[in-house]
């Protein structure tokens, strides 16, 4: 009986471990959309988020200005973000922004790194950014997770610094 009980416990632990590791894998394959934790979060879905990043929607429901920020054009996370959110090639996006520029609307400003995005978003009400989940900390609030499909071919773990899990994921 004891052997059966031990076997059951070990199996249960194994299943739990597997479930947890699958869960963490799934979480790692989502881009984290963040806002400052100091202000009430806006209610967003991917359609509204797209219109904010395309600079078609400028204000949230309370009249605060949205300030979307981008990573540099060559950043792998930026490429994955554009593919998931807009489903447009970089040339198509460039054509879009040229047309918007003709009307005085500029693309989102660019910050140099995911660290810079977190720091800027944390201190700027209305700012919206996107980072790998390992960069999310207590200064920002996760409001949406965008899943990355296998077709995008991006390993989010590679977007985290080697010590990111120690230095960034602590609240």
């Amino acid at each position: 009986m004891k052997i059966w009980l031990r076997t059951f416990r070990v199996s249960l632990a194994g299943v739990l471990l597997l479930w947890l590791s699958l869960g963490s894998l799934a979480a790692a394959e989502e881009i984290a959309v963040i806002v400052s934790s100091a202000v009430p979060p806006p209610i967003l879905d991917s359609v509204l988020l797209r219109d904010i990043y395309l600079k078609k929607i400028f204000l949230d429901g309370s009249g605060r200005k949205f300030i979307p920020v981008n990573l540099p054009a060559e950043h792998p996370l930026r490429n994955a973000w554009s593919e998931i959110l807009f489903n447009l090639s970089s040339n198509e996006l460039q054509d879009y922004w040229n047309q918007r520029y003709f009307h005085g609307v500029m693309p989102p400003y660019v910050l140099g790194s995911q660290d810079a995005v977190v720091r800027f978003v944390a201190k700027t009400p209305g700012a919206i950014g996107y980072v790998a989940p390992c960069f999310v900390n207590a200064s920002v609030r996760l409001i949406l997770s965008l899943p990355i499909g296998p077709e995008v071919g991006l390993d989010l773990q590679q977007q985290c610094p080697p010590t990111a899990s120690e230095s960034h994921s602590q609240p």
Binding site: D51, I57, F102, G104, Y109
Partner: protein
């Protein structure tokens, strides 16, 4: 001093004051992005962008002398004032220099305030625009700048039946609709009172400047809807307009429809308009075009366009077909070559070779 000149002076004073004081600065801490062709010079802390475009054009068409001209030299200034207000202006020197029959000519050069408006964002889906802006009819008129379109010539459908610019007020915005989005705009124009200089505009300016038909509104009211679908890969547009053109006695009605579809392998677009006069004193004017763009290797694109247009000044329908080759080494820079031909097109879209170099800076 004219009203427009006064507006420019005020705009320059406001711009200078805000730059000097930094009072209107945006959120601090931006890392300035490096200059990129086609995105203007950005001053994020001031919420200010300065840029523009230029276009050098060669025309070798029947019945007009061959000419090489600096067709457009435009300067954009865009400035935000807090979360809700922004101002945009496009100042243009048109036909600054032209060389025709071996003579350098600057007599056609004209300075023009192409656009000058203030935007107020009232809510998430509603903005108000006041000033001089591009008339929201069709897709082409709203992106007509040489670096943004594929051909040197412009379809008749997009230009001659209505004024390209309006002066007045416009409500506009974007609304989510079934996982897609709908852009709308409603506008009123009173060019007759607000911008009398505009009434010098001629309808066929981009086709045959010798045709003396006015291209300015006295007054107008209109609406435009654009439904974006398939992740923005397809747009469907509808434009409605009621107006009086400066030198025509009757009120006009115009209905327009446009369609745009693009994929990685091709781009198709089409616009059509129908204009009628309220009392029937003017002949109806109508037309439409279909354009196909196929990218080919090394940043080249082949363009074909077919247009039919029944102009009020012509007794029979004009057919225009254009074949073009455009090289775009970068999205903001284009080199274009086009051959235009047609039937009954001698007056309003003469056959011949057209070429341009255009850059958005």
């Amino acid at each position: 001093m004219s009203r427009i000149a006064m507006l420019i002076r005020r705009w320059i004073v406001i711009l200078g004051l805000s730059l000097a004081s930094g009072v209107m600065a945006g959120p601090a801490g931006w890392e300035h992005s490096p200059y990129e062709l086609g995105q203007g010079l950005q001053f994020p802390d001031q919420d200010l962008t300065v840029g523009g475009y230029l276009s050098l054009r060669y025309w070798g068409v029947d019945s007009l002398p061959d000419s090489l001209s600096l067709k457009d030299l435009s300067l954009f200034i865009s400035k935000g004032f807090g979360p809700r207000w922004s101002v945009f202006s496009e100042l243009e020197i048109g036909d600054a220099v032209s060389i025709s029959s071996g003579r350098v000519d600057t007599s056609d050069a004209e300075f023009e305030v192409e656009r000058l408006y203030a935007d107020y964002r009232a809510s998430q889906g509603l903005s108000l625009r006041v000033g001089k802006y591009l008339t929201p009819v069709g897709r082409w008129n709203l992106i007509h700048a040489d670096p943004l379109v594929w051909t040197v010539s412009r379809p008749l459908t997009t230009a001659v039946a209505f004024a390209r610019q309006a002066s007045g007020a416009m409500l506009y915005g974007t609304l989510p609709l079934a996982r897609n989005s709908l852009d709308y705009s409603l506008f009123v124009d009173d060019t007759e009172k607000l911008n009398t200089q505009q009434q010098d505009e001629i309808a066929y300016e981009d086709f045959n400047p010798n045709i003396p038909v006015s291209g300015a509104f006295d007054h107008a009211v209109g609406a435009r809807l654009v439904y974006h679908m398939f992740d923005g890969h397809m747009d469907l547009g509808l434009s409605l307009l009621q107006y009086r053109i400066h030198d025509l006695d009757d009120n006009m009605r115009l209905v327009g429809a446009d369609w745009y579809w693009h994929t990685a392998v091709a781009e198709l677009s089409s616009e059509a308009i129908y204009r009628s006069s309220r009392s029937g004193s003017e002949p109806d004017e109508y037309g439409g075009f279909l354009q196909a763009v196929v990218p080919v290797p090394h940043q080249f694109a082949l363009i074909g366009r077919y247009e039919r247009y029944a102009a009020a000044i012509e007794t029979s329908v004009t057919t225009v077909h254009s074949l073009g080759l455009t090289y775009r080494p970068r999205a903001a820079l284009s080199f274009k070559l086009e051959y235009r031909d047609g039937i009954n097109n001698e007056l309003i879209a003469p056959s011949g070779w057209l070429s341009s170099v255009a850059v958005l800076f």
